[in-house]
């Protein structure tokens, strides 16, 4: 009789913030096969998009993900602009790149913290998240929101970055660089991290190509793909930066790629901010009509390429929107990386691809005695406005 032992992880499990179900088939401590079930979070956004106008669609796709919440709008705007043949103003290009790169920094730091948490290294988690917080405050200062920035619109961006804010932002970048450098050096020299991550969950170059892996997962396996270089959009071909790659393909290499990418992002943001001082003008062109046709837009999100395909019949609504997020291609690589490893390592290997989940809830306070929420939506709105005002005051300006 063929008997198998299955260890289930999920659909609801403390390791995962988002529901997905991994079945690990094991022999003793060793994983011999893995099976992934998804679909617990399916929200039919592609179908809903068919009933939205092109402007509304950007806001809808922003809701796909809470962490890389500007990636989908950028890809979507690129697709609509490709469809209609729109060229965005130069100033808008720099602002798009700044928002995109700030997001990469906060997302990579979030992942590095969670990776520490998954291997039981909570000091690293708390430490890195402490340094991620100032990045979110920079976001709040320039966009008004910590997540879901609502900055993108077909034809450009919705908010300008003011000249008087640039010194504050540059200072923020200097501080972030100093702290991330400290964490990076400490993490990469840490014997505990090396022991847990080196040689674990190796994704070979061939597998990375066959499974069509993307982003840091592919780059850590020696596949130097990055949409920002390969198909430049926004300001990525106007500034100087490098694609980070590693050859090893293990979880440690993925960590190194992500941490070092933060410095490239800082480099890009600095150059873009300097350009904003001299490049003046409009931040968006008026988009009147979207002609019939089809368009493809891409953006290198923190997790890899986000792909949007839009088809229009000439009306004000898209006929079809197809979205492909990077985890869709990265998650199946676990078939190649997890079997042969131990159960204890499976968690960090699965986390190593940085599966995407939402974390937009800021705070919920529950009264233990009554079980009621202490703060309602209005209170949260009031508190968030108060905090934005405080940040503005620190920056020395009256309103955002």
């Amino acid at each position: 009789m063929n008997r198998k032992t299955i260890i289930p992880i999920g659909p609801y499990h403390p390791l995962q913030e988002e529901p997905e179900f991994f079945e690990l088939e094991v022999e003793g401590e060793k994983v011999i096969d893995i099976n992934v079930h998804i679909g617990y979070n399916h929200r039919s956004i592609e179908k809903i998009a068919e009933s939205k106008t092109f402007d509304q669609m950007v806001f809808l796709v922003e809701r796909i993900c809470g962490i890389c919440s500007t990636s989908h709008p950028i890809a979507n705007c690129n697709a609509v602009e490709d469809l209609a043949g729109i060229e965005i103003p130069e100033r808008a290009k720099y602002i798009r790149s700044i928002v995109g790169e700030l997001e990469r920094i906060h997302s990579h730091l979030l992942w590095a913290g969670l990776a520490g948490h998954f291997i039981g290294y909570n000091t690293l988690w708390m430490w890195i998240w402490k340094y991620r917080e100032p990045i979110l405050e920079i976001f709040e200062a320039i966009t008004g929101n910590r997540n879901h920035y609502a900055m993108m619109i077909p034809g450009g961006v919705r908010r300008d970055i003011k000249e008087e804010d640039i010194p504050f932002l540059l200072k923020g970048m200097d501080e972030a660089e100093r702290k991330i450098e400290m964490v990076t050096k400490a993490a990469l020299d840490d014997p505990v991290l090396a022991a847990r991550l080196k040689g674990i969950g190796v994704l070979s170059r061939e597998d990375a190509i066959n499974y069509c892996a993307l982003g840091p997962v592919a780059r850590a396996s020696g596949v130097a793909i990055d949409v920002r270089k390969d198909d430049p959009y926004a300001a990525y071909d106007l500034v100087d930066w490098q694609v980070i790659t590693r050859e090893e393909g293990d979880v440690f290499a993925k960590t190194v790629v992500r941490l070092l990418e933060c410095f490239e992002s800082i480099k890009i943001i600095r150059q873009c901010l300097e350009k904003l001082r001299t490049v003046k003008g409009e931040i968006a062109v008026k988009v009147k009509e979207i002609p019939p046709g089809e368009g493809i837009g891409r953006h290198e999100a923190p997790r890899g390429e986000v792909f949007h395909y839009v088809r229009s019949d000439g009306s004000n609504r898209p006929v079809r929107l197809k979205v492909r997020a990077p985890t869709y291609e990265n998650l199946p690589t676990c078939k190649a990386t997890v079997p042969g490893e131990s159960i204890a390592d499976a968690a960090i290997i699965l986390a190593g691809i940085d599966p995407c989940y939402c974390c937009t809830e800021r705070i919920v306070t529950i009264n233990k005695r009554t079980g009621q929420r202490e703060l309602n939506g209005q209170d949260l709105l009031r508190l968030s406005r108060k905090k934005t005002e405080k940040i503005c005051k620190n920056m020395g300006r009256r309103n955002v």
Binding site: I38, G39, H42, S44, E46, K47, I48, E50, S51, D82, I209, N210, Y211, C212, A213, I225, K229, D230, D231, P232, E294, G295, I296, E305, F307, Y309, R311, V319, R320, K322, R324, Y328, E329, P332, K335
Partner: protein, 148 residues
């Protein structure tokens, strides 16, 4: 490889098999081919030309179901899209998942959301929809309304 060569190679290789050629140079190319030629064309673009498979998009149009296979030529800033048109009765096409493992999930998704049958798919289970979703109901078909 020079930029023009990729496109010229595809033109030469597929030759008479090209039903329709649409292009937005220098970045986007849409090539319609017959459904029986998709495996050969995908093999050529993915294995020979070393393109990266991005994804498949399924579109329900009044006349047919279109499947779009997007391939990226990284470094050349080009996306080549192979299109096949499937009649609404007998929506079948050969699967490319055994050729490209990265296409396995998207073909399972298109199968359940648009009702396209992928022949010889290595793992033809449901991906996103619930177990109790009724057979023969395909949510991305146009006749299904949003509130349904």
């Amino acid at each position: 490889m020079a930029k023009q060569d990729i496109i010229k190679e595809i033109k030469e290789k597929l030759g008479k098999k090209i039903v329709k050629w649409e292009e937005k140079p220098p970045k986007r190319y849409y090539i319609t081919i017959a459904r029986d030629d998709i495996l050969e064309a995908a093999n050529f673009v993915f294995k020979k030309q070393k393109a990266r498979f991005i994804t498949e998009s399924g579109v329900d149009t009044p006349l047919s179901i279109e499947i779009l296979y997007h391939f990226s030529f990284d470094g050349l800033s080009k996306i080549v899209t192979l299109k096949v048109l499937l009649p609404k009765d007998g929506c079948e096409v050969e699967s490319i998942a055994s050729l490209i493992p990265g296409a396995s999930w998207i073909e399972r998704e298109v199968a359940e959301l648009l009702g396209v049958k992928f022949l010889n798919h290595p793992d033809p289970r449901r991906l996103l929809l619930a177990e109790d979703w009724p057979e023969g109901e395909f949510p991305l078909r146009q006749k299904i309304r949003e509130n349904q």
